[in-house]
Symmetry: C2
Subunit: 267 residues, 2 copies
C-alpha cells in the first residue's frame, strides 16, 4: 500500500524461478517505467497429478544474481505455507478457455495459475504485470481474470524470446539432452512453415496442421499433444484460416513437455 500510494508505479513479474533470457526480457520491459517486483514461487497447485512439481528446476541463488543484475528492485520469495496455509480452500477458475489446448492435457493447471496469480496480485498490488507470450493461454487466462474480477491492473504480453537455434526460452529446456534439444528445434520450424503457408494463401487449417506434424515427427522421440489453429480470443479451433489466427502446440520429448506458438495475420 505504501509503495502504491507514493505516486510510484509498481511493475510485477511473477515467475516460478529458473530465470532465463525470457524472464530478463520481462524485467527489462517492466523496468522502463516502474519499480519492479519479481516473485519466485513454484506453485504446487498448477502442476497436474503426475507432473514435474518435485523435479521442477530450482536455482534460487543463481536467480537472485540474475534478478539483481537485471534491475529488479524487490524480490518476493514466499514459502508454500505462506501462500497455502493449512485449511486453504479458495480457487479461481476462468471457465471455457481453460478446457482447451493445454487445459485438455493438464487438468487443474489453469485453475492453479489463476488462483496463485490473483493471490500474488492481492499481495503485491501492482499497477502493471508482465507475462511471456510463450504461455499464450496463460496470458489470456490472466487477462480474462483481471477484466472479469475488476482488478485495476494492466496486463502486458511480452513476445517470445528464442535461443540462437530458434527454441523458445523455457525453464524446462534445461531438462533436454543434446539430441532432444535438436529435436525440439522442429517446433519453431513448424511454426515458420505455418506462417509461410498462410502467407502463400493456404486457408485449410487441417492441411497446415498435417504439414506441421510431418516436420515435427521428423525429430526423434517426439510425441504431439496437440497442434491447433484457433481463434486468439476464444481458443476455439478454426477450419478456414481467413482471419488472425493463433498457431499453438504442445509436444513431449522424452517425457518433457514443451509448448510454442505464434500469431499469424492474414493479409
Amino acid at each position: 500500500m505504501n509503495l502504491r500510494s507514493r505516486n510510484n508505479s509498481i511493475g510485477f513479474v511473477p515467475t516460478m524461478g529458473a530465470l532465463h533470457k525470457g524472464h530478463v526480457h520481462l524485467i527489462e520491459r517492466a523496468r522502463s517505467n516502474n519499480t519492479v517486483i519479481l516473485s519466485i514461487f513454484v506453485n504446487p497447485k498448477q502442476f497436474a497429478p503426475g507432473e514435474d512439481y518435485n523435479r521442477y528446476p530450482r536455482y534460487i541463488e543463481k536467480d537472485k544474481v540474475i534478478a539483481t543484475d537485471s534491475g529488479v528492485d524487490i524480490l518476493f520469495l514466499p514459502s508454500t505455507d505462506e501462500i497455502y496455509p493449512e485449511g486453504y480452500k479458495t480457487f479461481v477458475n476462468v471457465e471455457g478457455i481453460t478446457d482447451l489446448l493445454c487445459g485438455r492435457f493438464r487438468p487443474g493447471h489453469f485453475k492453479g495459475v489463476a488462483t496463485v496469480v490473483l493471490k500474488l496480485f492481492n499481495i503485491v498490488m501492482p499497477h502493471r504485470a508482465y507475462f511471456g507470450e510463450k504461455d499464450y493461454q496463460q496470458m489470456l487466462v490472466i487477462k480474462s481474470m483481471v477484466r472479469d474480477l475488476n482488478l485495476d491492473i494492466e496486463i502486458f504480453g511480452i513476445p517470445i524470446v528464442r535461443d540462437d537455434d530458434g527454441l523458445a526460452m523455457s525453464s524446462r529446456n534445461v531438462y533436454l539432452g543434446r539430441e532432444e534439444r535438436v529435436s525440439a528445434t522442429s517446433l519453431n520450424r513448424a511454426l515458420k512453415v505455418s506462417r509461410e503457408m498462410v502467407k502463400s494463401g493456404e486457408m485449410n487449417a487441417q492441411k497446415i496442421i498435417s504439414e506441421m506434424e510431418r516436420i515435427i515427427k521428423k525429430g526423434d522421440g517426439i510425441e504431439i499433444d496437440y497442434i491447433s489453429l484457433c481463434n486468439p480470443e476464444t481458443l476455439e479451433d478454426i477450419k478456414i484460416v481467413d482471419t488472425r489466427v493463433l498457431v499453438a502446440m504442445a509436444v513431449r520429448i522424452g517425457g518433457k513437455r514443451l509448448i510454442d506458438n505464434c500469431i499469424v495475420e492474414v493479409k
Copy 2:
C-alpha cells in the same frame, strides 16, 4: 481509490435490496466508524436453476429511502451487464464448506456469492464489510475467501435481527402468507429448544435434531431441507455436543425457503 487513500475508512454493505431492519442494523454498525457504501444487486449467478431470481423482491425506490434515512453515504446500483458483461467467465469457489448445509440444496449458489462479492470488493475497495449472521454459511464463505485470497478487508458478522414474533428478518419474508408466517415462527422456537436442551446437559445431537423436527413439523405445510448441529468453522456434522456448536436449518413453507441458525456454547 481516492476515497480509500484520503485517510478515509470505507465500510461496505453488499445487499440484494428489499431492505429490512436486518440491513438497517448492518448500516448502523458500518456507520459507527466508516464512510458507508451500500450496494444493491440481485445477483443472477447465486440463484440455482429453478430458484426465485425473477420473483425475488425488488423495491428500489423504497430501498433508496431506507438507505438514505439510515445514513448510507454512497449507493451503488450496478446493472447486470456491468457486473457480467458479455463473455464473462471467471468464478471463485471456496471448496468444501460450500458443499454442506445450504450448498447441498443450492448447487452453484455459494460460487455465485463468492464471485459477486469478490467483484464488488474489487470495485468498492472497502476497509471493512458487514454481513448478517442469518446467512451464517455465506459469512463463513466470505471470511474464508478474504483470508485465502489475501484481501485487505475486515469482515464483520452482525447478529440476526428478529421480528416481534421471533422470525429472523429476511427479504424473502414478504412472500409469506399470514398462516405461513405463523408456521415460520417455529424455526426460532426450535432453535430456543436446542439451546435449552444443550444447557440441560443433552449431548446427543440426533436427539436434539429430532425434538427440533417435532416442533417444526407442527406448522402446516413445512418441509425441512436440513437441521444440522455442526462445527462452526468446518460446518461438518457433530454427533456429540461437547463444544461450541452451530445449529442451522433450512425449511420450505409453501415453496418459500427460509433459513435460521444460532451458535450454542457448551458450558
